[in-house]
C-alpha cells in the first residue's frame, strides 16, 4: 500500500501545481476561476490523503462550493473583451512583478525560520484528522477563541449586509 499512496501523492501534487499555475498563467479569467476551483478540489484530495477528511470536505464546501461560485458570478457579469487590454500596461506589470517577488521573499523567509516537527511512525495517530478530535479541541481546549471568532464572523456578516443594502439617498452610518 505505501507505494500506491506515494504514487497517488505524486500525481496529485503534480496536478495541483499545474492547476495552481494555470490560475495565474491563463489569459481568460473564466479559465482562471475554474482552475482555482480545481486547485481547491485537489487540495481537498490532499487532505483526504492525510486522513483529515473533515478539513478536506469543509474546504470543498466552503471554498470550492460557495466562495468560488461567487467569483464565477462576478466573472460571468464582466464583459471580458473590454477588460482584457488594461492589464497589459507596463507599469502594472512591473508593479505586480515587484509585489509578487516581495511576497515570495516574505513567505520563504518565514518558512525557513519555522521548525516543523517531523512526523514519525510511533507518534502517528489515525484519529488526528477526525472530526471528533477537532470537535474536542475546538469546544474544550479552545472554546473561548472559537466563540470569539464566531462573534467576529457575525459582525462581518452584519457589516456586509449594511454596506450591501445601502442605497443612494439613504443615510450613512
Amino acid at each position: 500500500m505505501p507505494i500506491t499512496a506515494d504514487i497517488t501523492w505524486y500525481i496529485l501534487t503534480a496536478l495541483t501545481l499545474i492547476s495552481a499555475l494555470a490560475v495565474i498563467l491563463v489569459r481568460n479569467p473564466m479559465y482562471s476561476v475554474l482552475s482555482l476551483v480545481l486547485t481547491f478540489f485537489l487540495l481537498s484530495c490532499h487532505y483526504f490523503l492525510l486522513n483529515a477528511q473533515f478539513l478536506g470536505v469543509v474546504n470543498m464546501i466552503v471554498y470550492a462550493g460557495a466562495i468560488m461560485v461567487l467569483f464565477l458570478f462576478v466573472v460571468m457579469f464582466l464583459n471580458l473583451r473590454e477588460y482584457r487590454e488594461e492589464t497589459k500596461n507596463n507599469l502594472t506589470k512591473i508593479g505586480a512583478f515587484v509585489m509578487g517577488l516581495a511576497i515570495l521573499g516574505a513567505i520563504i523567509a518565514s518558512i525557513r525560520r519555522l521548525q516543523y516537527p517531523m512526523p514519525s511512525n510511533d507518534q502517528f495517530n489515525v484519529t488526528t484528522g477526525y472530526v471528533e478530535t477537532l470537535g474536542d479541541l475546538l469546544f474544550r481546549d479552545y472554546l473561548l477563541p472559537f466563540e470569539l471568532v464566531t462573534v467576529l464572523f457575525f459582525i462581518a456578516m452584519v457589516g456586509a449586509i449594511i454596506i450591501g443594502k445601502r442605497e443612494k439617498g439613504e443615510r450613512h452610518f
Binding site: M30, L34, V37, F41, S44, Q53, F54, V57, V58, M60, I61, A64, G65, A66, V69, L72, F73, M76, Y130, V131, E132
Partner: protein, 382 residues
C-alpha cells in the same frame, strides 16, 4: 476473493443501478404525467412503453450535435460532463444495505464508509452548480446565462437551509457517517418521528437543489426559453437531463437514509433471526434490507414526480423569500429546539417547534385582512 474486488463489484453495481433507475425515471415521469392527466403516456415501444428510454437514448445519440459559433467550445463541452460527474459522485457514501459476508470477510454494501459521509454529499452537491453555470455561460446566450445565474443563486440559497436542517439530525445521532445515522434509527425509531420539521425543510431544499418543479426556475420555459440548456442538443442535452434524474435518485436515497431509517424495516430482527446466523442467512437479510431501501428511495422518486405534476412553479422572488426568510429561520429554530430537547433528553422535542410554527401561522392568517388571504397574495388589496 479479495475484498478489493468485492468492493469494486459493489461500486459498479451501485453505479449501474443509479444509471438504470435514472433511465427508467424518465419513463416513469411520463407515465405518472400521463396518469395524472388522464392519458396513456408512452405505450408504443415495448410493453407499456418500457423500451421508450432506450429509444430516447438512441434518438439523443443520433441527433445533430450542434455547438454555437460564438460559444466557448471547451467549456460548452465541459458543462454537461461536470453535471454528470457531480451527479454520479454523490452516491459514493450512501449505504444501500447492511453488510454481506463473503468467505471470512464482511463487506459493507456502500461505496466508501467515511466518518464525514453526509458532508461528502453536501460538498458534491455544492460543486454540482458548476455544470449548470459553466454550460450556461459558455453558450454565449443571454437566456442561458440568466438560467445559469438563477440556478447558481437558487442552489447557494437552498444549500444553507439544507445544511442547517441536517445539523439537527447530526445532533441527534452524534455522527456524520450516514451508516451511523441509519443504525441509530434501528428498531422503528425513524428520524422522521423526531425531526418532522427538519424533514420538511430538507425535502423542500432537495427539490430546489435538483431544480425540480416547483423550483425549476433555471429552466423556466415561459421566461427563459429553456434556461441554461437552451443551446444544447443531442447527447449533451441528454446528459443535463440525465444528471437531473440521477440527482433526484440520489437525493431520494439520502432522504430515505436520513429520515426513513434507510435499510431498516419493521420486524427486521425477527426476519434476520428466522434466516439464521450463517453467511447465507445474513446475506439474504441484507438483500431484503437493500430491497426495502430501494423501495423507499423509489417512493421518493415518485414523490418528486407527484409534486411536479401537482404544483405550479414559484415566482423567482417567492423562491428567494421562501429560502431566506422562511426555511433558514425555521431550520435555526429547529436546531435550537432540538438542542433543548437533547439537553433534557426528550427526543421528540422538536415537535414543539412544529406546534409553535403552526400556532404562529394560524394566528397570522387570522389577523390578516380578508382580502389578502389565500394564494394570490400579490393581488392588489381591494
Amino acid at each position: 476473493m479479495d475484498i478489493f474486488w468485492i468492493k469494486a463489484i459493489i461500486v459498479l453495481v451501485i453505479f449501474g443501478l443509479s444509471l438504470v433507475v435514472a433511465m427508467y425515471s424518465t419513463w416513469a415521469e411520463r407515465k405518472v404525467a400521463g396518469y395524472m392527466q388522464d392519458r396513456p403516456g408512452p405505450n408504443r415501444a415495448g410493453w407499456g412503453g418500457l423500451l421508450q428510454p432506450l429509444a430516447d437514448a438512441g434518438k439523443m445519440f443520433f441527433k445533430e450535435d450542434f455547438i454555437p459559433a460564438q460559444a466557448n467550445k471547451w467549456l460548452f463541452i465541459a458543462g454537461p460532463c461536470l453535471a454528470m460527474l457531480t451527479a454520479l459522485l454523490s452516491s459514493a457514501v450512501v449505504p444501500f444495505g447492511d453488510t454481506i459476508i463473503v468467505g471470512s470477510d464482511e463487506v459493507q454494501v456502500q461505496g466508501i464508509e467515511v466518518n464525514i459521509g453526509i458532508l461528502w454529499v453536501f460538498g458534491i452537491v455544492s460543486l454540482g452548480v458548476y455544470g449548470v453555470m459553466v454550460g450556461g455561460w459558455a453558450s454565449n446566450n443571454k437566456f442561458s446565462l440568466l438560467g445559469a445565474i438563477r440556478a447558481a443563486s437558487q442552489n447557494i440559497s437552498y444549500e444553507l437551509a439544507m445544511g442547517l436542517s441536517l445539523i439537527a439530525v447530526i445532533m441527534m445521532t452524534g455522527s456524520l457517517s450516514v451508516r451511523d445515522i441509519i443504525n441509530t434509527q434501528h428498531g422503528g425509531s425513524w428520524n422522521l418521528l423526531y425531526q418532522p420539521l427538519g424533514f420538511i425543510i430538507f425535502l423542500t431544499c432537495a427539490f430546489a437543489e435538483c431544480n425540480r418543479t416547483p423550483f425549476d426556475l433555471p429552466e423556466c420555459e415561459a421566461e427563459l426559453i429553456g434556461g441554461y440548456h437552451t443551446e444544447y442538443s443531442s447527447m449533451k442535452l441528454g446528459f443535463y437531463l440525465f444528471a437531473e434524474y440521477i440527482n433526484m435518485f440520489v437525493s431520494s436515497c439520502v432522504v430515505s437514509a436520513l429520515y426513513f431509517g434507510g435499510f431498516n424495516y419493521p420486524f427486521m430482527d425477527k426476519v434476520a433471526e428466522a434466516l439464521g446466523n450463517d453467511a447465507t442467512g445474513h446475506n439474504i437479510a441484507t438483500a431484503i434490507g437493500f430491497g426495502v431501501f430501494f423501495m423507499k428511495a423509489l417512493f421518493f422518486v415518485f414523490f418528486f414526480m407527484w409534486v411536479r405534476w401537482t404544483l405550479p412553479r414559484f415566482r423567482y422572488d417567492q423562491l428567494m423569500n421562501l429560502g431566506w426568510r422562511s426555511l433558514i429561520p425555521l431550520a435555526i429554530l429547529n436546531i435550537v429546539v432540538t438542542g433543548i430537547g437533547l439537553m433534557f433528553e426528550i427526543r421528540w422535542f422538536s415537535w414543539v417547534a412544529v406546534v409553535i410554527i403552526v400556532g404562529v401561522a394560524l394566528v397570522q392568517a387570522a389577523m390578516k385582512p380578508k382580502a389578502a388571504r389565500g394564494i394570490l397574495e400579490a393581488a392588489p388589496v381591494r
